[in-house]
């Protein structure tokens, strides 16, 4: 097992109380696996991604347990945590336009990253490795002397990927890596990411709100809603046989090209306020299959077929 989160809680401290952005999440990533994390904006998926690296504001509260290669990282002091960031767990950010420092040459970004984790590395060696990894992502090594603003959006994301790969981490968190790119570039970046993941023998957590993207890439998909993982299933199972009402509605709402079905489907209502989430099931206020118990008791996670689902509808068919 590469990564394991157990009862993970990440709460933001605000003046009005704790925002429970991630609440009792359980997630495992096996070696070589790509896990998709899907959910709408504000469901806590990016908080989870950045929480793994513990780069959220210092006032953030963490609870539960988080392990990388069986090493507990939640209680780790800052300076030990720094050795894990980049080196063991790499992160690719959403917006390549703003994630690269505009006043630094590309090579400088690579050199300082390498130097931080491998202090004895020589300039020549660093240049070599930078050139190699840039070539892998399809950028001419000579361009390392340029600045990020001289690259297009897709090229910048390639640089960002290279910058993550250069340390050869065991786990990469890709936080909506293609959201800010156009559709064709999206596809290129995704297939590049997939190839390199195999080549570098990494595991990946792919955070996205795009079910289409995640379907092609992920072995396993976790659907997040209001700080909870409501369904965890293999990709095909999730698509062809969704269990949780939220997942069902989410899949139905994917726009299609059927001429007889031009209505845009959506889920009525909006996600709950995470300062005061509903006591029972967090999806209950929007759920068409709601029962009485859903509003008063938090549903347990039950295993149905091969799917883990957090819903009262299945509590009777527990195996």
């Amino acid at each position: 097992m590469i990564f394991e989160a157990k009862d993970l809680k990440i709460y933001y401290k605000t003046k009005r109380g704790f925002v429970k952005a991630v609440d009792n999440i359980n997630l495992t990533v096996e070696k070589g696996q790509t896990v998709g994390l899907v959910g709408e904006s504000g469901c806590g998926k990016s908080t989870f991604g950045q929480g793994i690296l513990r780069i959220l504001p210092p006032s953030t509260f963490y609870g539960g347990s988080m392990k990388i290669e069986n090493q507990e990282i939640l209680g780790l002091p800052e300076n030990s945590m720094r050795k894990i960031r980049g080196k063991k767990i790499g992160m690719i950010f959403q917006d390549p336009m703003t994630s690269l420092n505009p006043v630094m040459k590309i090579e400088k970004l690579f050199f300082e990253t390498l130097k931080t984790h491998e202090p004895e590395i020589t300039e020549e060696e660093a240049r070599d490795r930078t050139a190699k990894v840039l070539e892998k992502v399809g950028i001419e090594p000579e361009r390392m002397r340029e600045y990020s603003f001289q690259f297009s959006g897709g090229m910048r994301q390639r640089v960002m990927i290279a910058l993550t790969l250069v340390l050869n981490p065991i786990l990469v968190i890709a936080d909506e890596p293609t959201t800010s790119l156009d559709v064709i570039v999206q596809a290129q970046i995704m297939s590049l990411l997939n190839e390199l993941r195999k080549e570098y023998d990494m595991s990946m957590i792919l955070i996205t709100h795009d079910l289409g993207v995640v379907a092609e890439m992920a072995d396993k998909i976790c659907v997040m809603y209001a700080g909870h993982i409501v369904e965890e299933a293999l990709s095909e199972d999730l698509y062809y046989n969704p269990k949780h009402p939220y997942t069902k509605l989410l899949i139905k709402s994917i726009p299609n090209t059927n001429i007889n079905d031009l209505d845009l489907k959506y889920i009525p209502g909006s996600p709950p306020d995470l300062l005061k989430p509903p006591i029972g099931c967090r999806f209950a206020p929007r759920c068409p299959y709601k029962k009485e118990i859903c509003e008063t008791n938090e549903p347990p996670v039950v295993k149905v077929d091969n799917t883990n689902v957090k819903c009262w509808l299945y509590s009777g068919v527990e195996q």
């Binding site: 950045q50 690296l53 790499g90 994630s99």
Partner: protein, 335 residues
């Protein structure tokens, strides 16, 4: 546009600006009350003597003729002769300028050190005591008049504690070979430690006064811009790569924070000179600032006009230099 043609354009654009400034200062001086002849000779001089002096200075000619005479002289590079001392204005300014330069450079370096380090650390610890104290400090110092701050420092360190002299650049008993006019450098190059120590002691109070005043604005700019930069995605990405806090703060956040700071620093520099005028007067520092105040008192028209033009050209040159530095700091800047 290349940097070279940009600089040439800037210089050409400065010419009408200086001309307008010259026209304004020339006529304002002649409109405001006060007569240079009376200021030199005193109110009790006989009428014939006053008229003779007025004729000698050319002040009996029509004002328009006076202006074009003066303009012609300035274009030939001649700033005229001081009505008070009969010495050429240019050589008087030239003699006093190194003192101003030494004071402003010292103050500027002090302000840079305070501004960058306190500003950066305050931004890193936003809303913590170090940050709150930085904000209180910068508001307080900014609100305090320069001369009052100078007087208080004089009172404390000069009068009560008797640690430092309250005025001048050099004690009369100390001798020093003057080459550059920057006394710190002169004493350093001639290995004259006694003079170096004496010069430093004289420089300390006016330098700290002016330095603190500039540091208040500077600290605020660095702190606010660094706070802004620390919230940027590239800082988060740098953290995610495991970079050390010092590298993130100074290598990424502060460095980027300087991009907007540089663009306003040109304007800040004019403020620095205004502060220098007041500081020099408070500490009887023999620079161009105290020279200007003295000449205003005696209505020495050519000297006042000459000094103003000199300051204007100086500010233009500094702002061009800042633009060039800005292009070096921020590779996105193209002219």
């Amino acid at each position: 546009m290349s940097l070279k043609s940009y600089i040439i354009t800037r210089i050409i654009l400065a010419i009408p600006m200086i001309l307008i400034l010259l026209i304004m200062i020339f006529f304002i001086l002649r409109i405001i009350p006060g007569d240079p002849v009376l200021a030199i000779l005193g109110g009790k001089a006989p009428v014939e003597v006053i008229e003779a002096k007025r004729h000698e200075l050319g002040l009996d000619k029509p004002i328009i003729i006076q202006f074009f005479d003066y303009l012609g002289d300035v274009l030939r590079g001649d700033l005229g002769v001081s009505t008070l001392t009969n010495r050429p204005v240019w050589s008087e300014i030239k003699d006093r300028f190194p003192a101003t330069l030494e004071l402003t450079i010292f103050s500027f370096i002090l302000a840079l050190i305070i501004g960058i380090f306190w500003g950066a650390e305050a931004a890193w610890r936003k809303d913590k005591p170090l940050d709150i104290s930085a904000r209180v400090y910068s508001i307080f110092i900014y609100a305090v008049p320069v001369f009052w701050l100078g007087l208080m420092l004089q009172l404390l360190f000069g009068i009560y504690l008797r640690w430092l002299p309250v005025g001048g650049r050099l004690s009369p008993r100390v001798s020093l070979d003057i080459k550059t006019g920057l006394f710190l450098l002169d004493s350093l190059f001639s290995w004259n430690w006694e003079a170096f120590w004496d010069v430093l002691k004289h420089l300390l109070l006016p330098g700290i006064t002016l330095g603190l005043v500039i540091s208040s604005i500077f600290l605020r700019m660095v702190r606010n811009n660094t706070v802004l930069m620390l919230s940027k995605d590239f800082v988060k990405a740098a953290k995610a790569r495991g970079l050390k806090p010092k590298v993130i703060l100074y290598g990424h956040a502060v460095r980027n924070a300087f991009v907007p700071i540089f663009t306003i620093m040109g304007m800040q520099f004019a403020l620095l000179l205004a502060g220098a005028v007041l500081t020099e007067t408070t500490f009887s520092w023999p620079g161009v600032g105290s020279y200007l105040v003295l000449k205003i008192k005696y209505r020495d028209f050519p000297a006042i006009q000459g000094t103003i033009i000199f300051f204007a050209i100086f500010v233009v040159l500094i702002s061009i230099i800042i633009d060039i530095v800005n292009a070096l700091v921020d590779p996105r800047v193209r002219y």
